[in-house]
Amino acid sequence: MADATGAGRAEVSGAAGGAGGRRRTLLPRVPFNLALVLPAQLTVLSVALVPTLIVIWLALTDWQPTSGVPWWRAEFVWFWNFYDLWYDDRFIGALLRTLFVVTVCLTVELILALGLALLFLDEWPWRKVAVSIIILPMMIIPVDAANAFFMLFNERGPVNHIISLVLRRDYNFSWLSDPRWALLPIMLAEIWQWTPLMFLLVLTGLMNLPQNQVRAAMVLGASPARIFLKIMLPLLTPVILVALIVRGVETFKIFDPVYILTRGGPGAATETLSMFMYNGAFVYFRMGYVAAAALLVLVVVLTACVGLLHRLERHA
């Protein structure tokens, strides 16, 4: 059904030369080109749309698998789950913490990436090798990277060892069991793993910059800092925006490092939204409650994304 309406619009947008309509397309033949998207569409619908419908139902129930009642006959509680969520400090805490993690990680990643990319502008021997080593972190399985950070920030790990060597006394702080500090290794793991992607994006953007303006500014005697701020940065904005959106969406879902490093603990000190929902659903078995939280998150994320995409399209 979604397809049928979409196909009607296809010709309109093709004729009007919509977002990507500059490229010439072939004449559509409706049943044929619809059949082509069908397998992909069905797969996505079965694992994304159907669950979304189920989650709406579950959010209004108090389903707890441990009680032995199948989910379609779970007790209907109307909007009480949402009411509880609103007054649940743990949920609000997880939400704010997630936003905090996203902000910190994106900022640090972007600054590091910009700085690094500027080092790689001119040609020098071993440049390619250096790039390959710097992007190594993003190739590692996230779970393995998180494990490595678990070992690094262990009481008897190398981070404490280095600090001990600097302080010249034994330093055995246990980072991961201190509520105030446990979030730091998690964010560092995330930053360590994904700064390389930012770096690659920014570097790609810098290499594709039009040369004329930079050269003209140089000839006119502008300082490197001014060239960077007034010419390169504005030209880089689209690439940086894409990087921030892609990384922002992914960081918002952060789960693997949290699960491996702390499982949200100690207490709920490092619980991000994903971890909160995992704990709620698979540790406390409050599926209905988690479904309500999930529904809220879905609505918020989708609204944010639709808004963002519309704005992007208008700019493009």
């Binding site: 093709g14 033949r29 080109n33 996505v44 989650v55 399985i141 494990n147 699960y259």
Partner: protein, 300 residues
Amino acid sequence: MPDLAAARRRPALTLLKRTAVLVAMAISFFPIFWLFSTSFKPVDEWASWPPVWVSRHPTLQNYRIVFFPEAARTFAEAQKGSLDYKVSGSAWRAFGDSALIATASTALSVLFGTLAAWSIARYRTGGASLPLQFLSVRMFPPIAVVVPIVAMFSVLRLSDTYLGMILAYTAFTLPFSVWMIRSFIEDVPAELEGAAMVHGLGRFRAFLHATMPLIWGGLLATALFIFILNWSEFLFALVLTSGKVITVTLQVANYVSASSGKLYGVQAAMGAISTLPVVLMGYLIQRHLVRGLTFGAVKR
């Protein structure tokens, strides 16, 4: 090449820049070094103080424990009392299961993705909204759909099965394959296919003979990229299985002893072995990584 004025002609600045690059390389490499170094440490060096940076008595014991059940049993008996060791599942099973699930869902994802991407790129099927609809799958947190998927799979008897995992992985990598392949197809002028059709080929054969030969490299890169994603996936594996199906990421997280926490050496060995193939694949498609991870938005 935009280069920041005469910076490179000032030796002090150059030295500073080189140092910064070296530091960045060291930081990038250090956790990986630690992972590999730990994988060769004997049990008494796993968590000793001060920590052992490079083992003085390197051993392959951790790798033996990962791959040979007898070695694991001997180890467990030798450590009885001091280290309550639990072996859950075997690494061979994990590698087999992961290979099967990742390969099957990659094949499906690329196949479905190619068809959809072709339709979208050449016929504007679904206008602007259909590609965004695919993209939205990747936007919401998977944990938010995991609960209803668990509910749905329990009815369909898909939980803890290969089919269920393949279905989930296919659906959640389709956004990548549709968008990435679409960007490859759009790099090829539609006129090629049009010309082939003028010469009497059907639509499908026109695509096969005119466009396909030019995007093989792109398709292969997409497949490798999606294989990496599937191989590295953790959340779905954690939630949708309960023992019958084990992926490598699950197995890595499994090496935990009941009393004394993680089995660092064994976990590191499993981690090193499991991450090696995807690192190699990552470098193979290094040129396309940026395109993949930004859904074709940024090209090199």
